[in-house]
């Protein structure tokens, strides 16, 4: 498992046919398989943590849950409810290993228990309702933010110490340091409250029927999503610009870039095809690394804008002590992040010829 994480800076290995021991003609596949193994182990760790946390926390969450149920429904929980809670948190009379096996069995049947705050709705239903909103918001903003930030970083890092660099870099450092939830609040204040340009809460216009084939509905989704999306893209750009700028500053004085200059190629071509293309690699693996924290930004944005995604539901679940809901969302977020990481790693293999099969 040593050095499984793709090295952020390309190692100075010779690119051509080296005489040394070949890494094998299937280097790319080996790399991917090892990554797959790593993610499987990590997924197992996350699932097991999800099992262990409620059982090793002080106090009995099952009792708290039942009390909570009594408060929400106004009546003592019936035996079915008690059984549902015990199924989720384990029967204290069974030993831990049996509980662990039960837990896996439930997972295999996509049985995540019933929500306490929305009793007796199954957790899976609530989660499935919220999931598309988050995927939509996080997906589009991550891609757009990454693209714009990387491009801007390539431009700024092209002339380190130049005018664009010395002007933009400190500004970006400041913008990058703004807490995301604070920026979201500010966006609501300026563009929602003061200027009134955008709606400030919800995912779509409640006056429009919820229909995916209705153009007005889709337009209202765009309008309601605009402010959270802009905020997230804005936050994203700064980080990626930083990263790209630093790697780009390193590549512009590499031999192959100098050679491209010497060949008399147009500067734009040298910048994009030679320097930026190589500087891009760390940003691709950086994308994988950052996916976990990107979700943090989405959670905050969803809360500030009361956007009906997973983050907002998670926030509600935590404040109403809805443990089954909370844990299912955690599991889903974690597995999603792992899957996205794996995709980013595969992309890395496609982009970096050194990990790819040599022809």
């Amino acid at each position: 498992m040593a050095a499984t994480r793709a090295a952020p800076v390309p190692a100075p290995t010779p690119r051509g046919k080296s005489r040394g021991p070949r890494t094998g003609s299937h280097a790319g596949w080996t790399f991917l398989l090892r990554r797959l193994g790593f993610y499987l182990v990590t997924a197992w760790a996350a699932i097991t943590l999800n099992f262990l946390i409620p059982r090793f926390m002080p106090g009995d969450p099952a009792v708290a849950l039942l009390k909570n149920l009594q408060q929400t429904t106004g009546a003592a929980p019936n035996t079915a409810a008690v059984r549902a809670v015990r199924m989720f948190y384990g029967d204290p009379t069974r030993n831990l290993l049996q509980q662990y096996l039960d837990y896996w069995n439930n997972l295999a049947h996509f049985d995540f228990g019933l929500s306490v705050s929305h009793y007796p709705t199954p957790v899976s239903g609530i989660v499935l309702d919220a999931l598309p909103w988050t995927v939509l918001l996080a997906g589009t903003t991550t891609v757009i933010g990454w693209l714009l930030g990387t491009l801007l970083g390539a431009f700024v890092g092209w002339k380190p110490g130049g005018r664009a660099d010395s002007l933009l870099t400190p500004i970006t450092a400041f913008l990058y340091s703004l807490p995301p939830f604070w920026l979201a609040l500010l966006a609501v204040y300026v563009f929602g409250f003061t200027l009134g340009w955008f709606p400030i809460s919800g995912g779509y216009d409640p006056d429009v029927p919820f229909q995916l084939n209705n153009l007005w509905f889709l337009l209202s989704v765009l309008r309601y999503g605009a402010l959270p999306a802009f905020t997230l893209i804005f936050i994203g750009i700064n980080g990626w610009m930083f990263a790209m700028r630093n790697v780009m500053a390193g590549t512009v004085s590499e031999d192959y870039v100098l050679l491209a200059h010497a060949k008399g190629l147009r500067p734009r071509r040298v910048m994009l095809r030679y320097a930026a293309r190589n500087a891009l690699l760390p940003n691709v693996s950086g994308l994988a690394l950052a996916l976990g924290s990107i979700f943090g930004g989405v959670v905050f944005a969803e809360i500030v804008f009361t956007y009906p995604g997973l983050g907002y539901v998670l926030f509600q679940a935590v404040s109403s002590h809805d443990y089954p809901l909370m844990q299912t969302i955690f599991l889903l977020i974690t597995l999603g992040v792992l899957a996205a990481n794996l995709i980013a790693d595969s992309t890395y293999v496609l982009l970096d010829p050194r990990t790819r099969e040599e022809r």
Partner: protein, 306 residues
Amino acid sequence: MRQFLTNGKVRVGLVILGGFLLLALVGPWLVSSVLGTDPHRIDYDALGVGPGADHLLGTTSSGQDVLAQLLTGCRGSVEVGLLSGVLAVGVAALIGVTGGFLGGRTDQLLTAVTNIFATLPSLPLMLIVAGYMTRVDSVVIALLIGLFEWPVCARYLRAQTLSLRGRDFVQALRMVGESRWRMVLVEIMPHLSGVLSSLFLRAVVTGVFAEAGLRFLGIGGGDSVTWGTMIAFAQQQDGVLRGMWWWFVPPGLFIALLGTATALVNFGLDEIGNPVLRHSGRAAIRRARAHLAARRDRTNTVEVTS
């Protein structure tokens, strides 16, 4: 070191950081003796008023002075940052240096654990753990943050130790039969101090950010005043939709200023360690062009003569 202190970015960053550290130390005293109030005192004549002569930064909806909270909050935020930073860097040093120095199976295992923890999304994990706790005060928040922040630092330290281990002076010590502990503590650690201090600085600021974030998510009661609790309060009281910008703008700006200062110091460190970042590549390009042109001329001549 001299290069470090003469770098403009580093200077600006250090001055700001020093200012915040000073504020963390004297903030509460400043509030009580200069402003003559405390962050919890309620002014019933001024509930939720904007900035003015009596309250320079206005008051909260329950009539507490925002400026007093802002100045006192520095200590609360910095305390959480420092505690979580110490914990994160401590655990990271233990695991990263051990793995990097010992190598082999131990290293493989520790690296695997580090990578798993680094990949798991820390914010939801912190939220879940905090959600199960009955009492979450500043210390618990700091511990939580530190517990989920170490993997990134551990990776850096492992890489650094790995490269140090191969250096001649360590090899020489090994030949002499120096004990492992002495090698790590007396010989390797001082070489890591630069990386350690940079990581620690970053960890402290991450801690301040994370605390604010967790508070914002409603974790922890109102046991202490921090910049995070101020913003969380503004959100809970619907400060935005009531137009009370002075509730959340000042603490956010202070957090951002702290982050910027750290970024500037780390920029400076990067530039010193890697001069390429500072200088334009132009000179190198010009040199290379001249060099290639000269070589082309030479090969041409050779062809002509042969």
